[in-house]
């Protein structure tokens, strides 16, 4: 079992990665990655929402009537995301103000629904929970790489702080903090990963 779980976990990070292989969750990848701090909070919210909703959907998988399964999944996901939003508002008010509507938009993130539909409906709760965490982590590290480069090149800062020996001479690439910059960064990253890291047509190496 642990071997299987490890394999499943690594798959989401590598050859089944939700962002660069399945190309899911692109909306938020493009939207929140211009500042690293916001990205990290968004990623933690998404990991929590994916893990908990996959777990819950899996618990109920034998009871959910087939005709309304997507409604039930959306409802469960929405409940968890609103909980995340409320907790962020209560504990991290400054970040909550910066993220504005984006936390609520986790509800419509394709990865959360995708994992519930593709995995949690057919598997027991514990593997579903791990699958949810893995999908969340696979999404998060790609977002953080993109956010790191976008904030560095677009604002010459990391986590809002100037980078010694860099910020003083760097001329900000303003396009990197705007939406097109996110497309360039994501496309560049997918290109690099597909060329050098996950090269096999049918899967990873």
């Amino acid at each position: 079992m642990p071997g299987k779980i490890k394999k499943q976990f690594l798959a989401s990070i590598g050859r089944d990665n939700p962002v660069f292989v399945q190309v899911l969750g692109i909306c938020s990848t493009l939207a929140v990655t211009n500042v690293l701090e916001n990205t990290v909070v968004m990623c933690l919210g998404l990991i929590f929402a994916t893990a908990c909703s996959s777990f819950t959907v899996s618990l109920l998988r034998r009871q959910i009537p087939g005709s309304i399964r997507m409604m039930v999944e959306t409802l469960i996901i929405a409940a968890y995301v609103i909980i995340v939003d409320l907790v962020i508002q209560a504990t991290l008010p400054t970040i909550s103000r910066q993220l504005g509507p984006y936390v609520g938009l986790i509800i419509t993130n394709c990865i959360v629904m995708g994992r519930a539909e593709a995995y949690a409906l057919n598997n027991p709760p514990l593997p579903s929970l791990i699958d949810g965490v893995a999908a969340g982590v696979g999404y998060s590290y790609i977002l953080m790489i993109i956010a790191f480069f976008r904030e560095l090149t677009g604002s010459a800062t990391i986590w809002g702080h100037a980078v010694p020996g860099f910020s003083s001479w760097w001329v900000n690439w303003s396009i990197m903090v705007m939406a097109p910059g996110a497309f360039f960064a994501l496309a560049g990253l997918i290109w690099i990963i597909k060329t050098y890291i996950v090269t096999d047509e049918t899967g990873g190496k």
Partner: protein, 204 residues
Amino acid sequence: MNPQWIKEKATPVVFMTAVTFVCISLVGLVDIVTRPSVDRNKTLFQKQAVCDASATVLSGDLAAWYDANVTVVTNAADGPYYLVNGGDGVSRLVLIQQGPGLWGSITAYVGFNRKTAVIEGVTFQDHVETPGLGARIDEPWFRHQFAGKTGPFNELRPEPQDKTKGTRDAGAFDQITGATITASAVKDIMNKSIERAKALNAAR
């Protein structure tokens, strides 16, 4: 009762109702638990906004300073405003000014020196601008640039490339790349509050 009907029609309805009830109860419970902190944060943000807009340098507790030095005037025609006792004997006027942003309305707290009519500080208390773009109006470099100016502010004008030839217009302010509508909204909000402050000062 037809078993087919129960399976296809009644069960989904009952199941959905039950799941909805459980989810709403759970969210309601978390809301009740987090409500006091959320409300406390809101009040703190509002007090902090008055403090920042009046350019007060706090040495102690925010709530204690607020209770001792801030008066809310609620009977004004253009909405409530604050009078803040400055440490130097001159009072500060803090106006709440709203204007339309990109996604929703922006609420700014603009502080004026009652004697010189110079802007002391600005905070954007409430807005739903795009994170990382328009929402950067919250960043100190953007807010602090208004301090010491009297306005009114004019259309977006860049800094001259050759700084030896000519200076920046007195009404110019630094913009945020990719947030033209937000910057324009901020300009209108600032100008409206400047007019209100003038009227309030004249009526004194």
